[in-house]
Amino acid sequence: MNEETIIETHNLSKRYDNITVVDQLNFHVQSGEIFGLLGPNGAGKTTTILMLMGLTEPYSGNAKVCGYDPTREPLKVKRLVGYMPEKVGFYDNLTARENLDFIAELNQIDATTANQTIDELLHTVGLDDALDKLVGQFSRGMKQRLGIADALVKEPKVVIFDEPTAGLDPEGINQILDLLRDLPKKGTAVIMCSHRLYEVQRICDRVGILSRGRMLVEDTIEHLGREAFGGGLFRIEVETVKPSAQLIKTLGDTQGIERVELHDNIIIISADSDRRTQISGILVTNGFPIKEIKIQEYTLDDIYMKYFRKEAL
């Protein structure tokens, strides 16, 4: 698949009554990738989306979505971008199919094509049985899945999901995430907003961390780990008895090990990969017993916390 930039922003900003909500935002999304927009509540995620959809005007800067400026040509953008709002709602007195039919009609998709697409989509999201049931009888998880189908009815180039898993149980969350992960296979780019790290970590190719309207970092999760800690992606803790300074030095000189710290009897090593075999070898040849050895991959959680601690300072 050839990569093309679907969304890019240049110094996108938004202010409400002199309060800057989104500040000089620059990021881009390629086709066929899942981009995670991560940030705590009130970081400006939803406002950013609204600007991308042309639902609110930026204070300064601009955005390009599929080559169109959402402020100037909102209809063209809306034709190509699917959006599932955080609190998605349907007409309770219509069936699932009627709800989607209505959206297809607003997008001027002819009835035969629309019917086919809707059948397929409802099958994908696992709502075949509920096709002709009133949405009023749907559970929260079903509505959320219908929301995904709803965003996809117009066969968009990019879909934006704003907190798609809000208020769902773990099983529901898994279903939603699995659905989202499969979307790029059909050539649709996905932007997912969330404040839950593990969700973003599970499915996103690249992540942008947003805080107080500013993009702190934008990169792949792997790179983020390196950047944030100035060290490796892996953190190995070794517990031994009375480690000597010489041992620390030897460990530090070993190839692949980027930093060694000592806390009492625990040596904390950050390494670029799983170096447990080498480390235990060094300890044993130098005559130090190994009481415990633990390895930990940096999660987005650590990265996140790290950035927010920095932010707070």
Binding site: P85, E86, G89, Q108, D162
Partner: protein, 287 residues
């Protein structure tokens, strides 16, 4: 459904009022239209409001408000609005659609109430005798001019209803809760319809002069509508200020209500324009 019952109720009131009223006073011309305008204000018989005044004060405002008060904020709270605005449709299409759909329902409701009353009228003689009234006069079928006057009345009611709907819609855009918008529109309705009528009545009892207050109150929509429609449907009596001996011709009646007509249309236009502007500028978030 409830609105439909109100329509039936309206026509029943009109029927009783007219039936009793007509049996008391028999006049020569436009008897069919008297069905809509006759009311009873008599201590012995009690008070019964005429069809025209009932629709002006209660029926049409209530339908208008019930159609408009949750037009936008219900969609907003249920989360459907943010889905709709992210589709490739102009935002004014949404509000125009709301308005036109409301007008269509309004037209149907007014038609029902009108037809029911007309139906009672046509069958008045037989029904009246069934109910124990003396059939007052030979009740002629409605003439062409009467029908035209009724149609003008119908068109006028739609504009009047659109005013209330537009007013309620402003509140439904401005306020996020349906309860607030309902209470605000109902409050304004009570003030603008019943309140002003009571004030005018009180002023009329104490002084005979036309004060500034009365002239201001004259432009409230309910009064405008009631004046205009009474003139239109009851060309024999008090027109908008002057008592006439001979029935006014259709053209003269129209000329007479021209200020009321333009006043009401402009009030409606103001309401719609205000809700339109509010909605176009509003940011729609899902939360």
């Amino acid at each position: 459904m409830i609105v439909f019952l109100v329509a039936v109720f309206t026509s029943i009131i009109a029927y009783y009022s007219a039936a009793e009223g007509i049996s008391l006073r028999i006049t020569g011309e436009f008897i069919f239209l008297r069905l809509f305008t006759t009311q009873i204000r008599n201590w012995e018989l009690g008070f019964l409001i005429s069809f025209v005044n009932f629709t002006a004060l209660f029926f049409i405002p209530l339908i208008g408000i019930s159609l408009g008060f949750d037009a936008i904020n219900k969609e907003r709270t249920s989360g459907t609005l943010s889905r709709i605005v992210s589709q490739p449709v102009f935002r004014d299409t949404i509000i125009n659609a709301k308005f036109l759909a409301g007008l269509a329902v309004l037209a149907v409701m007014v038609t029902i109430a009108l037809f029911l009353t007309v139906g009672y009228g046509v069958g008045l003689r037989s029904v009246a005798s069934l109910l124990g009234f003396q059939p007052p006069i030979a009740f002629p079928p409605p003439g062409a001019e009467e029908l035209i006057r009724l149609f003008i009345y119908f068109a006028f009611s739609i504009i009047y209803g659109a005013f209330w709907m537009g007013l309620a819609m402003i509140f439904s855009i401005a306020s996020r809760s349906t309860a607030t918008s309902l209470l605000t529109s109902l409050g304004l309705w009570i003030f603008l319809s019943i309140g002003t009528v009571l004030i005018l009545w009180a002023i009329g009892r104490t002084t005979q002069e036309v004060t500034t207050l009365t002239s201001v109150l004259q432009v409230t929509p309910a009064i405008l509508f009631a004046d205009a429609t009474n003139t239109m449907l009851f060309p024999l009596g008090m027109t908008t200020g002057v008592f006439v001996q001979n029935p006014l011709s259709l053209g003269q009646s129209l000329l007479d209500i021209w200020p009321q007509l333009t006043g009401l249309i402009s009030l409606t236009a103001i309401c719609f324009a205000a809700s339109y502007m509010l909605f176009m500028r509003q940011e729609i978030r899902s939360t």
